[in-house]
Structure formats: structure tokens, C-alpha cells
């Protein structure tokens, strides 16, 4: 299972539309979640509708959150998305086996078995989460909270039974013309890392779309080496429902 979690506080203003980029991610079997960080109600109506659109195109969730609730929000969205992805895969499988039946329509005993499978997979399926952090000037005072949320997420991920990795990017990159920069490559343990965002040079532009494409690229490069990726296909093979 592959997710991108975009953390932003404003509107994109350069390059390809982030909604189009999110649709591309979804096509590449990567779910895109978006958190809008609002501390003084500075996201604006325009920004809120953009994050909603990005999440919808990316098959994920969008939420507004104060920095104080950021850890909880990130935590909840990641988990919810895992459950949903698995639920969708299980539902597809069910339809194949039982015809047009949804989980809700099953009698309680059968539903119990199916949900047990969903819960099992939620805990054991491979999971990768790429965090993409908006580091434009207005985000500066919020980065400490972002870092805390990332560390908190890392604790939860490393407590899962299934293998879980995260990577961190910020955008725009420090050099001109750089849309996005990798801060932390795939890892399952970040407790040894002192600072995730060392000395960022804040710039004014917000190239959300190009940054998303960059992360999709990064995912796909990692795929070349190990084909048969960790998509949800074949996940059900261990189970006979």
C-alpha cells in the first residue's frame, strides 16, 4: 500500500495543477491524503477547496487541522486510508466470489469473518507513506509541529506488524528551479535522527503539483528493482473468503 501525505497551508501557484498530479498518483496506485494546517484561519476558501479537490483526485482524505491536533490528524488519516484501501480490495474480491454483495449486506456472522480479514490485513500489509511538506514561508512557524507529527506517525508505523516505511520531502527545494527535495529516504526507524528539516531556506512559491509528480517518480524508481510491488493485488491470496 502506498500513500502520499501532503501537508500544506495554502494554494499552489506554479507549474502543473496539483489536482492533475494527484490523479496521476491515484493512477499509479498511490493514495493522496491532504492536511491543511490552519493556525489563524489562514487557508482561505480557495485553499480549502483546493485541498479537497487534491484528495478527491488522489482517492484519499482531506482535513483541516490546527498545529495542536496535527499529530492526531495525521495518525487518524493514515490509518483510515489503510483500512479503506483494504476494504476496497476486499470488497472487490467479495463481488467476484459472491456476486453483487457489499460488506454491509452480509449477515452478521459472515460480516464478522470478512472484517476479521480486513483487520488482519490492516495490521500486516506492507505500507509506505511519503510525507510531502509545504515549506513555503508561511509554514515556517508550523514546522516544529509538523516534525512532531512525523515522529508520532513513525512510532505508530513501527508498532505495526507489517513492514512500514516512511520518507519525507519538502517543497520547494532550496535551489532555484528545484521543485522538491528529499529530506529522509525510506526508513522504518527515525528515532536516531535529530532534525528532519535542517536549515530550510524558505521561498515564496508553492509548486505543489510539480512536487507531487516528483514523489510519484520517486515511488516508481523504487519499483524498478522489486517488481511485483506492494499494491493491494494478490493481497488476498492467503485468505479464502
Amino acid at each position: 500500500m502506498r500513500q502520499i501525505l501532503l501537508v500544506t497551508d495554502g494554494c499552489s501557484n506554479v507549474g502543473v495543477s496539483p489536482v492533475v498530479a494527484a490523479a496521476q498518483a491515484y493512477a499509479a496506485q498511490i493514495t493522496v491524503n491532504v492536511v491543511g494546517v490552519i493556525d489563524h484561519g489562514d487557508l482561505g476558501e480557495f485553499g480549502s477547496s483546493e485541498i479537497e479537490e487534491i484528495a478527491r483526485a488522489g482517492g484519499g482524505l482531506s482535513r483541516l487541522s490546527h498545529t495542536r491536533q496535527l499529530s492526531q490528524t495525521v495518525q487518524m488519516m493514515t490509518r483510515k486510508t489503510v483500512v479503506q484501501t483494504i476494504q476496497q480490495a476486499v470488497s472487490r474480491e467479495l463481488k467476484q466470489v459472491l456476486g453483487n454483495t457489499s460488506i454491509e449486506e452480509l449477515p452478521p456472522e459472515k460480516r464478522g469473518e470478512v472484517v476479521r480479514v480486513i483487520d488482519d490485513l490492516t495490521e500486516t500489509a506492507k505500507l509506505k507513506v511519503a510525507l510531502l511538506i509545504d515549506a513555503s514561508a508561511s509554514m515556517k512557524p508550523k514546522l516544529a509541529a509538523v516534525e512532531e507529527a512525523i515522529r508520532d506517525l513513525a512510532i505508530s508505523l513501527s508498532s505495526r506488524q507489517g513492514s512500514s516505511e516512511l520518507a519525507v520531502f519538502h517543497f520547494p527545494g532550496s535551489a532555484y528551479g528545484e521543485d522538491c527535495m528529499l529530506d529522509l529516504d525510506w526508513t522504518s526507524n527515525i528515532s536516531g535522527i535529530h532534525s528532519i528539516f535542517p536549515r530550510l531556506q524558505m521561498r515564496g512559491t508553492t509548486p505543489t503539483g510539480p512536487a507531487l509528480l516528483h514523489v510519484i517518480d520517486f515511488y516508481q524508481k523504487a519499483d524498478y528493482g522489486n517488481r511485483k510491488n506492494d499494491g493491494t493485488d494478490g493481497m488476498m491470496s492467503d485468505y479464502v473468503v
Partner: protein, 312 residues
């Protein structure tokens, strides 16, 4: 957090199941949370608590947990009281179907309300009983996960029951639901992998919350994420008049030094006996005595009831 259905059910409404046709009359709402609403209901002169959810998978997941805890207790030869009574779907007035389950009704107050109304002298015994509840659950291979003041209801004579098994997690898996301030991960005191120590950590925070609620809140909001440590919690305990005698016990719970809830309960009991019953000789009509009168009155009432019934 809001539930995804906004309506409620007035007193007298009937909730009936689509699959098994069990039908329940609504008395009142008991509470609500992220996963649904809980109603006090009646069926054939018995009261139950009925949890109505909006997400079938979430609710079923809770049901599965309750069922496997029950089975594991049974396998170990314990005679578990039946907690889960019925599971079904209800077609509401809006035409949609909502899943529900029915469980034993726990007539009680939340832990903090109980101590407030009955007096802090109940603290040692209620919390000792709670450790026993946790031990039972642990012996079946589960941690409770989301242990907090709101999820402990206390019935008469200091008998606690756990409610909301949404966080209950089989040992070895990632804790499914937790609340920051009670969470071992939040305090940089370990992982979120379910084990007995996870609950014992939350239990220690629960004690702090009950006795030093305000200072605990100040502590957690005043510290930076890196400086949140179990040491800070232990210091708070050591400087609290109410918790000082317990501070050694709390320290062990915070550092994961108890191997099991049974061991922790034994240590708690030792402390309870050492410190003696906190009854003061001068106190006029101690509360426990009143309790005793209430008890014998209840016994009398039951005897009369039984007599009348057999007579008719």
C-alpha cells in the same frame, strides 16, 4: 470527532433487528463517541446498553474483539459473564441501515464522578479492582488500549467495568486506538505495540489524572515533544501529597517494570494494607457503614421479592 448521523431516538422508540428480529425499547441515550451512540434499552423487563454505529466495518470490528475475548476467557476455563448479547442491523426512519450490538448495561458513574461523589477514600480499592479487570483481559491475550477516565464505569461498592473496546488489541499488534496523554508513545516511554505494560502505563497516568489532573495537564502542555518523558510523570507523582505513598508503584508502572497486571495488583494490595484503611476513629458514621446498611436493605428487599414470587 462527530458521528456521521445526527439524529437521536426518543424514549419509547423501538429498535428491531433485521436478521434476528430482536426488538428493544429505547429508554434514553447513555452517551456517544466517535463510533456511535449508546442507548439504554429494555427487552423483556431487562435493561441493556445498545450501541448503534454508522460504519458497519468499525462496529463489526468491535464485536469481533468482544467475541474473541469471550472465547479466549472460556477456553481458559473461566466462566465469563456474557457481555455481548446480540448483533444485528436496524433500518432507521431515514431508510438507511445502521449496525448495532447489544451488551450488558453497566449501571455506574465514570471513574472521576464516582470518586467525586463517594469520596477519595474509595480510590485505592476501586483502582485495585480495575487492575484485576485488566489482569483478566491480559490473561486472555489482549490489552485494553484506550484506558482513560471516561472508559471506566464504576458500579456500587467500587466495582469498575471497562467500556468501549474500540482500542482493545491482541498482544503483539499495534494499539488500535489511544488517547495522547495516556499513551506510552506520546511520553517517549516505548512503542505502541500492545502488551500488558502498555495498559499499566496508561493506568499510572490515570492515577495522576485523578489525583493531580490540573498539574498533569500543565505538565503535558508545558513540555516540548522531546522532553516528554516518564521521568517527568514520576516526578509529578513524587511531589503530590496524595500520590507520594504510591510513587514507587507508579514509577514501576511508568517504566514498564511490572511483568503483568497481576504482579502490579499484588504490589498495589500490599500498599493498600500497609497504609491501612484510611478510616478515622473520630469520623461519625463512616461512609462504608452507610453502604453496609444500604446493602442489607437491598438483601432484605430481594428476600421479600423472592418470598412474594414463590407465594404467588
Amino acid at each position: 470527532m462527530t458521528t456521521s448521523f445526527e439524529w437521536s431516538l426518543p424514549r419509547g422508540s423501538i429498535i428491531s433487528g433485521k436478521w434476528k428480529q430482536g426488538s428493544y425499547r429505547v429508554e434514553r441515550m447513555l452517551g456517544e463517541g466517535a463510533n456511535g451512540k449508546v442507548f439504554l434499552v429494555e427487552r423483556a423487563k431487562y435493561y441493556y446498553a445498545l450501541k448503534l454505529g454508522s460504519d458497519a466495518v468499525d462496529l463489526q470490528s468491535e464485536v469481533n474483539v468482544l467475541q474473541s475475548i469471550y472465547k479466549q476467557k472460556e477456553k481458559r476455563g473461566a466462566k465469563p459473564g456474557l457481555f455481548l448479547v446480540d448483533v444485528d442491523d436496524y433500518r432507521a426512519a431515514d431508510g438507511k441501515e445502521y449496525p448495532f450490538y447489544v451488551m450488558r448495561y453497566i449501571k455506574g458513574k465514570t471513574l472521576s464522578d464516582y470518586l467525586q461523589s463517594q469520596g477519595k477514600e474509595w480510590f485505592p480499592v476501586v483502582l485495585y479492582n480495575l487492575l484485576g479487570k485488566l489482569a483478566e483481559l491480559h490473561e486472555a491475550g489482549w490489552s485494553f488500549g484506550d484506558l482513560k477516565v471516561e472508559n471506566v464505569l464504576v458500579a456500587d461498592y467500587g466495582r469498575p467495568e471497562l467500556v468501549d473496546y474500540g482500542g482493545a488489541t491482541a498482544f503483539g499488534k499495534g494499539v488500535r486506538q489511544f488517547t495522547e496523554i495516556y499513551d506510552r508513545g506520546y511520553w517517549n516511554a516505548g512503542t505502541r505495540i500492545s502488551d500488558a505494560r502498555y495498559d499499566l502505563f496508561s493506568f499510572a497516568v490515570l492515577c495522576l489524572k485523578l489525583q493531580e489532573g490540573r498539574r498533569l495537564a500543565q505538565l503535558s502542555s508545558g513540555l516540548l515533544p522531546q522532553t516528554r518523558t516518564p521521568d517527568e510523570l514520576a516526578k509529578l507523582a513524587a511531589t503530590s501529597a496524595a500520590l507520594k505513598p504510591l510513587s514507587g508503584w507508579l514509577r514501576k508502572a511508568l517504566y514498564g517494570e511490572f511483568a503483568s497486571a497481576r504482579e502490579a495488583a499484588a504490589a498495589w494490595q500490599q500498599w493498600m494494607h500497609k497504609s491501612g484503611a484510611p478510616s478515622k476513629a473520630s469520623a461519625p458514621a463512616p461512609r462504608w457503614l452507610k453502604g453496609l446498611f444500604a446493602l442489607s436493605a437491598a438483601v432484605l428487599a430481594t428476600t421479600i421479592y423472592l418470598l412474594l414470587r414463590t407465594a404467588s
